[in-house]
């Protein structure tokens, strides 16, 4: 019988721990498929964050590091700088990890133009700790630490990482995608693939932001969560390419 679909070799057989309707699983799959398609599973080292995807080191079949909260770009820098040429290094980070506690590390890694790929999952909330306000939480969005809704006066406007990093010369590719439906999923896959391809050419830091749903902490069933993402997140975090200063050869 012909096999029409199978799990990517970029993933282990470990059962994912994610909640129903969470988008981490989809993004893991896209990253794993990309590593497999590019034939680089055996020469890739990934860095997992602290947050919901903290166990990502168990899910990807390449060599992995678990990093302290926010430090993944620094850990990835250490790995990349000492590994043989041709080694691919990526971080997989959420919005609390990358856009709050790890802001210095991601900005400086981008400034240096570290030859790493950063997969950034933005679900506008802290998932692992149970739904607290993130720097990406939208104005008016209720969380367990903004119970009346985030206000600009108190917490400022949500941070836009693609826009911020695209101002840095060392960040050669920044694209914001989502995985709410098949056309967008295909775009996300393309973006992830391009990010890894550009790394293989030593172009600089490549950054893919994925708008993601968190039904559990948003307090919505999965389908409603996707609708909320489309209606509320995409207008504030427009999809698209923010930086594309290197050509795929």
């Amino acid at each position: 019988m012909a096999i029409v679909y199978q799990k990517s070799k970029g993933l282990t057989d470990k059962e994912l721990h994610y909640c129903p309707g969470c988008t981490h699983g989809i993004v893991h799959k896209l990253v794993a498929e990309t590593l497999e398609e590019l034939g680089i599973i055996g020469t890739t080292i990934g860095v997992a964050p602290v947050g919901c995807s903290v166990f990502a080191y168990d899910y990807f079949s390449c060599d992995m590091h678990g990093a302290a909260h926010g430090r993944a770009p620094a850990v990835a820098t250490g790995i990349k700088r000492v590994s043989p040429p041709g080694t691919t290094v990526f971080t997989y980070q959420g919005d609390g990890d990358l856009a709050a506690i790890g802001t210095a590390e991601i900005v400086q890694a981008a400034m240096r133009g570290e030859k790493i790929t950063v997969i950034f999952i933005n679900n506008a909330i802290y998932g692992m700790t149970g739904g607290q306000m993130a720097p990406t939480t939208l104005i008016g969005q209720k969380t367990t630490t903004s119970p009346l809704g985030r206000t600009k006066e108190h917490a400022g406007m949500p941070i836009k990482m693609c826009e911020l990093l695209s101002t840095l010369d060392g960040c050669v590719y920044a694209e914001r995608v989502c995985v709410t439906d098949i056309p967008n999923l295909n775009k996300a896959k393309k973006a992830i693939r391009k990010a890894f391809e550009l790394q293989q050419q030593n172009a600089g830091l490549t950054f893919v932001e994925v708008l993601a749903a968190c039904p559990t902490n948003w307090g919505k069933p999965p389908i409603k969560a996707v609708e909320w993402l489309k209606e509320n997140m995409i207008p504030y975090y427009p999809l698209g390419v923010y930086k594309d200063s290197a050509e795929v050869k």
Partner: protein, 353 residues
């Protein structure tokens, strides 16, 4: 062998290169900055990498990434910077990633001063990060030892898969002394099959990690680490005794302060008082049994602890002696160094002379 004049910090940096360390991640802070400065010039010459990080926090995490790949890697800093590295140090210990960390101590607390001090003893020996972990700590008393201990530290780190700290102070970092680049003891080093070098499609993936979310595996991991720390205590405890046999006063001091004690011993000898020195070389593991034995001599009337702090190592001396001998203390914090006369007078007072 030819002797060369080396500044402490530069000798530390050169020693790392001679130990086969090709990678350094650090951040400028006085009084250790000559270490990164030296390596920024010389590591690229040997095909290595020097990288000035955005912070000590980032630097130690770069070390974690690099060390996890199996290479010899070092970072250096001074007291406030070492405070920032504590998060990384506990992760390095938890993940069993070998590396060498240099602390050229200065005065504290907080920003303190840039002058020499030994106020980071608790932090170095008890751990400033979270959880049950230990790092072997070698404390050089001169530039020669700084050069030797850095090389030894890389071996200890690799043998036990653990970070190792070299605890110097601003005096040793900044002064120039003669150094002989003699061979150090050749030790058998284990392979690093755990390193993240890419699976190359030939093995299961390696994971460098300190997370054990279930309590039983986490407890098991802690017990495994504890066994390792016990082994380090057994095998790596180092100390030196100088004129300790038959002494009336037994000084206990490490690093720069041990040299002040040696000068004080001469002053005391002129006054007919026989003083000796017990110098811990590893402050963790601390030579408890050896100190107790040295102090147990009938001749010893008092143990005098000298530190560039207001009393931190003295706790270990108390643990070692278990009340068996009177202990007194002379110390200064905040960048001042007691004179040999002050130390000698403290010793005289301790024995009622």
């Amino acid at each position: 062998m030819e002797k060369e004049l080396w500044k402490g910090n530069e000798a530390i940096a050169e020693a790392a290169i001679r130990a086969g360390c090709k990678y350094f991640f650090g951040y400028p802070i006085t009084p250790q900055t000559e270490v990164p400065e030296y390596l920024s010039l010389h590591l690229p010459e040997i095909g290595g990498c020097f990288l000035q990080a955005e912070s000590e926090v980032a630097a130690i995490n770069m070390v974690y990434g690099a060390g996890g790949c199996g290479v010899r890697v070092m970072t250096s800093s001074s007291s406030p910077g070492i405070s920032l590295k504590q998060e990384g140090i506990t992760y390095l210990c938890g993940s069993e990633v070998p590396c060498v960390i240099i602390n050229v101590m200065r005065g504290g607390p907080g920003l303190g001063t840039i002058q020499p001090a030994q106020g980071d003893y608790y932090q170095a020996t008890r751990g400033g990060g979270n959880g049950d972990y230990r790092t072997p700590v070698l404390a050089p008393a001169n530039v020669q030892e700084a050069a030797d201990f850095v090389r030894m530290a890389f071996d200890i780190a690799d043998i036990y898969r653990n970070p190792v700290m070299v605890l110097a102070d601003g005096m040793i970092g900044q002064m120039m002394e003669a150094v002989e680049w003699h061979d150090i003891e050749k030790r058998e080093l284990p392979a690093k099959p755990w390193a993240t070098t890419g699976t190359q499609g030939k093995r299961e993936h390696n994971v460098i990690n300190s997370l054990y979310i279930q309590p039983e595996p986490c407890a098991e991991h802690n017990e495994k680490l504890e066994k390792k720390y016990k082994l380090i205590e057994e095998k790596e405890t180092r100390y030196e005794e100088i004129d300790a046999e038959g002494c009336e006063v037994l000084f206990t001091a490490y690093g720069t302060t041990s040299r002040v004690c040696r000068a004080a011993m001469k002053l005391l000898a002129d006054e007919g008082i026989k003083a000796g020195l017990f110098r811990p070389i590893t402050v963790w593991p601390f030579p408890y049994a050896q100190l107790k034995k040295a102090a147990a001599q009938n001749s010893v009337k008092a143990v005098v602890v000298a530190e560039l702090s207001l009393g931190q190592m003295i706790d270990d001396v108390k643990i070692a002696l278990e009340g068996s001998k009177p202990i007194s203390f002379i110390g200064k914090a905040g960048g001042l160094v007691p004179t040999p006369r002050e130390v000698a007078d403290a010793a005289k007072k301790a024995i009622g002379r």
